[in-house]
Subunit: 331 residues, 2 copies
């Protein structure tokens, strides 16, 4: 394994420490709970938005903390749900008179941790609700889920409820908005290579020199099938067709189009994929009104990409266009 890592057991804490050092005025790091929070959270005038998940998906979610986005993220170790008590302590630390909204991608381990933490927090009198995200159309039920997995579409939920929370929306209104975004968001990804968790020190699965995994999960879980590598035009069809067909997105729709890199794919290739997908959608009468190209939800160093569509209406488009700021800014 060739990585920038010291003790693999300290990979997540050392990353979080670096993130906090890079954002001393805006982020606060609470090592006891792997917690990254806004320095000004919790605020009495807004619902606190919290996401938890395994690590290894950066910038999701610790680098998505900031104004108009998350108030806090409490990650677990690489590809492991955060411990229930981390979520519980985080919820208490983020407690606001307006309440706490927990965002969770749909994986069994994460659901268990968040369900238990919510129960304990409610018993403590915290006004807390939990929203589950399951945008991945690749498989129904999988290695780590009952139902569909939550992947990069999660970004749009954070962005929309983050903007609405900043504008003063209450907890029920945020649940409505979050569920609405989930209901119109669909994703699918493919892997060109496996990923290597620092503690394992070897690739999580084997792919041949000319093989790809279609519908791969963000923890390297199997997708729909293996296939031989084909030109980018066909790779885009392989991802876009099941996504479009699922909602379905139809002629006349306005959408947000995200091309998300899985960690090891350069942004040059992502823009090439974006251009192809944009034109294929246009040919079907689907207008891309907002574009997102880059890394949003990765799988460590996996080469590959996912495509996400969000069907827009005026409300969602306005929330996506609202200002936001995150720890992973490059300016």
């Amino acid at each position: 394994m060739k990585k920038f890592v010291n003790d693999p057991q300290q990979f997540v804490p050392e990353m979080l420490k670096g993130l906090a050092l890079a954002n001393p005025d805006t982020l606060k790091y609470v090592p006891e709970y792997n917690l990254i929070m806004r320095a000004d959270a919790p605020r009495a005038d807004k619902v606190s938005i919290v996401q938890g998940s395994g690590s290894g998906h950066e910038p999701a979610h610790v680098m998505a903390v900031g104004p108009g986005m998350l108030d806090a993220a409490c990650p677990g170790d690489v590809f492991a749900a955060p411990p229930m008590d981390y979520v519980y302590e985080t919820t208490k630390l983020l407690n606001s008179p307006k309440g706490v909204l927990l965002l969770v991608n749909n994986y069994t381990g994460d659901r268990m941790a968040f369900d238990m933490a919510q129960e304990l927090s409610l018993a403590d009198g915290v006004n807390v609700k939990t929203l589950f995200i399951d945008d991945d159309v690749a498989v129904k039920d999988s290695t780590w889920t009952v139902g569909r997995r939550g992947v990069a579409g999660n970004f749009f939920v954070i962005k929309a409820v983050g903007a609405a929370a900043e504008a003063g929306a209450d907890l029920d209104e945020l649940m409505r908005i979050g569920e609405k975004v989930v209901s119109v968001t669909r994703s699918m990804g493919l892997a060109l290579t496996a990923c290597t968790p620092p503690a394992k020190g070897a690739p999580l699965f084997e792919l041949g020199d000319d093989e790809i995994e279609i519908g791969v999960g963000i923890h390297g879980e199997p997708g729909r099938r293996r296939a031989k590598i084909v030109p980018a035009n066909e790779l885009v069809d392989i991802l876009l067709e099941p996504v479009v067909a699922d909602l379905p997105y139809v002629s006349g729709d306005r959408v947000a189009l995200m091309v998300n890199g899985l960690g090891g794919t350069p942004i040059s290739e992502l823009y090439l994929v974006y251009g192809i997908a944009h034109e294929k959608l246009a040919a079907q009468g689907i207008t891309v009104a907002r574009s997102y190209v880059g890394e949003y939800c990765t799988s460590l160093d996996m080469a590959g990409a996912s495509i996400t569509l969000v069907k827009l209406d005026d409300e969602i488009e306005g929330l996506l266009a609202a200002p936001a700021e995150i720890g992973a800014r490059i300016f």
Copy 2:
């Protein structure tokens, strides 16, 4: 080779087309010259800032076009200087009454193209100057250079002269600022893996399973030496010590610290590296006043990272802090 690519000869144009489609209101793509320019350029009230270079270093430089940054970028093919006539036509298209500033990383091919284009443009009456950037301390003279190579430190030159140009500085003042930033900026990188150019279809060089290339160039050029992989703390020393010693940066200095990913290294590892570097500098009495973590200047899909330091004074810090906006935004 497993990449998102159709015809390798069309890799750059397809990427540029995707970039333009993702930024329809702000960027304009001129396919004849591989040119990405601001939709509102040239502006009569500001000097036009133009960077050229080979492709394969994205987001440098086509995704660094926007307010407060570049007015245009004219890339060549992957790892190839832009043809002289592309630079010449770009200079004419970007001609402003206030002049044109060409930014060039120090590689022999790029220098030749830009020197000739400048000569032709001057003969046409365009007020044009050229600034060369050579921040890489790894090697003096190299595969493609006389003198030092220009690498990720280039970002700070673009950011500073971009901000000053937006504020109305004239061409001589921009040259002064650019040269000043170059004079206080130093970088060095290392490769964990080679990179694979689409048209070659195979890695540019061979590295063993436990080998790294210290001081690697952004085109895969050899650096100072090969070594075995070591823990991140030592990797940071390997990069930071030569950089600090070169200017030198000394106790009491305020600096900008950039940890730049070379394309295949996840942002989690970059933040881990950032945290280590930040603390090592602090231990030497060097204060990190501005932080930059992410991909700025890559080498296709190469795993690896570089570290850049900029010694700050009030003028440079103010220019780096000025607002800017680029095509590769993730919001």
